[in-house]
């Protein structure tokens, strides 16, 4: 079961700033647990952010991104109340999509 993505977006002077915090362990496959067993790799591979049905950011990620990945960016346009959709897929095929309104 995956946890919701936290999305903060604010529009000012025609520019929308988006901050995203995804809940994910981002395991590298190199870490050992307390019993000395290697923890299998497990990380988000793809991120897509859409505004009003248009992709405003897409990214490929690796396990070299820190746990609970944080991504921030800005795009032109976007108004208070517009809907943003943030979707990710991980290396196990799990996927998640969350929505937030621009504040």
């Amino acid at each position: 079961m995956t946890q919701p993505t936290r999305i903060r977006a604010a529009s000012k002077d025609g520019i929308t700033e988006v901050r995203i915090l995804m809940a994910h362990p981002m395991e590298t496959g190199l870490r050992k647990d307390s019993s000395g067993q290697l923890v299998p790799s497990h990380y988000i591979t793809d991120l897509t952010v859409q505004h009003a049905g248009r992709v405003v950011l897409s990214a490929q990620l690796s396990a070299s991104i820190a746990a609970n990945p944080y991504v921030a960016f800005k795009f032109k346009g976007g108004a208070k109340g517009d809907r943003l959709t943030v979707a990710w897929i991980d290396s196990h095929g799990a996927k998640r999509s969350d929505e937030a309104d621009i504040g």
Binding site: V56, Q60, S64, A66, I89
Partner: protein, 154 residues
């Protein structure tokens, strides 16, 4: 050898799953296509990663600014920001020279998205952090050394 084989099997399995999801209409073909080319992430060295990204000899650029701490106390969480002043910036990739997987992130910036991204990376040890930028179809690069007090990959 064994690791390679496992990686190959996992990659094949992952692509199969994506194809299935795409066929079922669960994910858009665009997302499946973006996910398909994972070669840059299979590279184990910076040079191989650059080749896989299509950037064989990127030109050094002072118009790319990397914001990162000089010394990161915790290698598991290193904030990195990249800003490109190059006109027509359409892609920004963040690479860490000494990490097992050098490519941390590869951002595609559609028209209208500013050439400015921030994220947090892991760093195994002191290394150069590279920002690779594609602008008007040409590749540019900038680097910044970050020292790490406690490594964050193992």
């Amino acid at each position: 050898m064994d690791r390679q084989r496992r990686n190959l099997l996992r990659t094949a399995g992952g692509l199969g799953m994506l194809a299935m999801l795409a066929a079922a209409g669960v994910i858009t073909p665009g997302l499946a296509r973006a996910a398909a080319d994972r070669r840059p992430f299979e590279a184990k060295t910076l040079e191989d990663a650059l080749v896989a990204l299509g950037a064989v000899e990127p030109e050094d650029s002072a118009s790319i600014v990397i914001a990162a701490p000089e010394v990161a106390e915790n290698g598991a969480l290193v904030p990195v920001g990249v800003t490109s002043g190059l006109a027509g910036t359409e892609q920004i990739a963040v690479l860490v020279d000494r990490n097992r997987v050098p490519v941390a992130a590869n951002f595609t910036l559609p028209e209208g998205t500013l050439a400015e991204v921030q994220t947090r990376i892991k760093m195994a040890e002191k290394s150069n952090v590279y920002a690779l930028v594609r602008a008007d179809g040409k590749f540019y690069v900038a680097r910044r050394e970050v020292r790490v007090t406690v490594g964050g990959c193992g």
